[in-house]
């Protein structure tokens, strides 16, 4: 591997020797695909016939009137097949797997969105599929576990470490070092060793390309600000990539959890809690102690509950190109309720972080301004978490009744 994928001081490929040849093969397959003019066309074709691309850009007139600030547009990644931007990355990597001639895929998942997307891709392309998911996430994202299993994937609950996303990534790597000859690891976000950050943001850049054309078409000018939630960073890099060379202000929103000063959050770039380290194969900001041990993270949104962050985003922060903020669990639930009531849209808890930050800031801007929010996914998967957060009595009654029917 010649280029090691550095973005400023961040990135690299800190991999065990056994995987070197596998990474060389992946770098090679990706470079060839990128340089093949038919490949992007094939990708767009898959995304427009199997998923729902181009996803629409929705003008949120009611929210705009409510805040009396900038005109709010929403990029609808929730309308992808399986309900999130994860489909973009997964179908793209699926095409790479075909080119490499492998027959099995593995993936980590936090919210379960990436796992479900990978399982659909595997079903569609005829690959065997195993999904690693932290035990804590298996418990809080049951509907997605159900769908993964229905889709024929094996879901393996991870009982090691903090039992969430980062631990699922470790287990996926452990599978890969054993089975790499026939297996591709479909990493779900713009993290991990080179070339994963590049691969994932390459496929997600379709969001930004479309959004730029769409906003130019309906408004004839660029937005003033763009908001995206940041777990590992893939949906944010996807939409931001269409606007990096313009004067557009880019805002990445991390999980503030119970508040960044409570220690129970996942804010690596917006708070001072993150520091530079090397884990899970890459160098970036992590939430870690002085010794370099990774710390526990917290978010109401499983997909943002991650200890590291994309090295590409870390370098954008260093250069001041992207601003990072954090939204707390309760701000997120408020933003979610408001969006549901005003627009009839149901963002995923992850995506609702972007909405929450946008709502804090939009009143500052006049109606001449446009802001763009990336709705990375839909909230259907979160029904248990949201119902619990709102202590919904009807839902509780329903669950109790179902429990009784199943004889517990």
């Amino acid at each position: 591997m010649n280029s090691r994928g550095y973005h400023g001081e961040f990135g690299g490929a800190f991999i065990p020797e056994i995987l070197t040849a596998t990474f060389d093969q992946l770098v090679d397959a990706f470079e060839k695909a990128k340089n093949d003019p038919c490949f992007w066309e094939e990708y767009v074709d898959v995304m427009s016939t199997y998923s729902c691309r181009p996803t629409p850009l929705t003008f949120a007139g009611n929210l705009t009137n409510h805040f009396k600030g900038a005109r709010i547009y929403i990029k609808r990644e929730d309308l992808n097949h399986t309900g999130a931007h994860k489909a973009n990355n997964v179908m793209g990597q699926g095409l790479l797997v075909k080119r490499m001639g492998k027959h099995r895929v593995i993936a980590e998942t936090g919210a379960g969105q990436h796992g479900v997307a990978t399982a659909t891709m595997a079903a569609r392309f005829g690959f065997r599929c195993s999904i690693y998911m932290g035990e804590v996430d298996v418990d809080r994202q049951r509907p997605n576990v159900f769908w993964m299993e229905r889709l024929g994937a094996e879901v393996i609950p991870v009982k090691e470490g903090t039992r969430i996303l980062k631990d699922a990534i470790n287990e996926a790597f452990r599978d890969w070092v054993t089975n790499m000859d026939d297996t591709h690891y479909v990493l779900g976000t713009a993290c991990g060793p080179h070339p994963f950050p590049e691969i994932v943001s390459y496929f997600q850049s379709i969001i930004g390309k479309e959004a730029r054309d769409q906003i130019m078409e309906c408004e004839g000018k660029l937005p003033s600000r763009i908001y995206a939630c940041v777990g590992g960073g893939s949906n944010a890099l996807g939409i931001f990539s269409g606007f990096l060379d313009d004067g557009v202000e880019l805002v990445g929103v991390e999980a503030g959890g119970e508040g960044v000063d409570t220690g129970r959050h996942a804010s690596r770039l917006a708070s001072n809690a993150g520091s530079v380290g090397v884990a899970q194969g890459y160098k970036s900001y992590f939430l870690q102690d002085r010794d370099g041990q990774m710390e526990e993270t917290h978010s109401v949104a499983a997909g943002l509950d991650y200890v590291g962050v994309s090295p590409i985003l870390a370098s954008h922060r260093e250069r001041g190109r992207i601003r990072f903020e954090a939204a707390t669990d309760s701000e997120v639930l408020d933003a979610l309720s408001l969006t549901i009531k005003k627009e009839g849209l149901i963002p995923a808890l992850e995506s609702a972080h972007a909405f929450a930050q946008a709502f804090k800031e939009t009143p500052e801007l006049s109606r001449d301004h446009i802001i763009l929010i990336n709705q990375s996914g839909r909230g259907d998967k979160d029904i248990f978490t949201i119902a619990e957060a709102f202590s919904d009595p009807g839902w509780q009654k329903f669950i109790r009744k179902k429990g009784n029917e199943y004889g517990t």
Binding site: G12, I15, E17, T20, A21, M180, D291, G292, Q293
Partner: protein
């Protein structure tokens, strides 16, 4: 004496040397000391001391759990280095540090090398640090006269083995198979021919690790390699049979 010279001298008397592994702080720092003592008395030739890390990506379930328990028990980099110092002073065999790169990175790579040298440690194994990413580390190890142990795997090409060998000192750690530590290894003709490949690519003694459990495995290495590495099996025996078990186990191997 250089680590390689020590190993070559020992190899004049024994066909295969024994390197064992343990996770510092598991089940406790005190127990770690006692385990090391039992292993030295049993006749171990050198030892790798693992400083626990929350993300031990190259390790299998047994060592992963030991890492986790050690950290839960309060082991820190400082307390592990302190124990290592005590161990080096007490026992007359070479000790190496095994850990993941973030531990060195956070400590400061040069400071870590200097801390190892000050404590009389002889080298380090850092499985997630290929030489391409390890320029600073390799320089620091060189400066402090410590052995950076490089790793070969069955997926490593001959050319790459030569490249890795050019950075290595002391010995080469040959991973016996794909996968992580702990699982069973097939001691087959395939392994023999892989070790022959390693032999012709390196000027250093060869250690073989991953999946070694018993005397038969050590016998297999005779003529094919120089050092047998036993890791997960030590932890299993300690968990099942305690300290006396470890002592017997090592004696039976020798």
């Amino acid at each position: 004496m250089a680590l390689e010279t020590y190993l070559r001298n020992r190899l004049k008397k024994k066909d295969v040397l024994l390197m064992t592994h343990l996770v510092l702080g598991y089940p406790s720092l005190e127990d770690s000391f006692n385990i090391i003592e039992a292993m030295v008395e049993g006749g171990v030739d050198l030892m790798e001391l693992q400083i626990p890390f929350t993300e031990p990506i190259a390790d299998g379930p047994v060592i992963v759990r030991a890492n986790q328990r050690a950290l839960e028990g309060g082991a820190t980099v400082g307390s592990c280095l302190h124990l290592a110092e005590h161990v080096v002073r007490t026992f007359d065999i070479p000790f190496l540090i095994m850990t993941y790169y973030n531990i060195l990175f956070r400590y400061g790579v040069h400071d870590f090398a200097s801390a190892m040298a000050e404590r009389g440690l002889r080298g380090a194994i850092v499985p997630d640090l290929p030489p391409e990413e390890g320029k600073e580390y390799l320089e620091a190890m060189q400066k402090h006269d410590l052995a950076p142990i490089l790793i070969f795997s069955p997926a490593t090409s001959n050319d790459r083995m030569k490249y890795l060998d050019s950075f290595g000192k002391g010995f080469i750690y040959c991973v016996s198979r794909k996968g992580v530590t702990g699982a069973d290894t097939n001691f087959s003709a395939e392994l023999t021919s892989y070790l022959a490949r390693c032999r012709s690519a390196s000027r250093l003694p060869l250690a073989v690790g991953f999946g070694l459990k018993n005397k038969a495995h050590m016998e297999f290495l005779k003529g094919n390699a120089d050092i047998a590495v036993i890791g997960s099996q030590i932890i299993r025996i300690m968990e099942q049979e305690g300290m006396a078990g470890i002592r017997n186990f090592i004696k039976r191997l020798r």
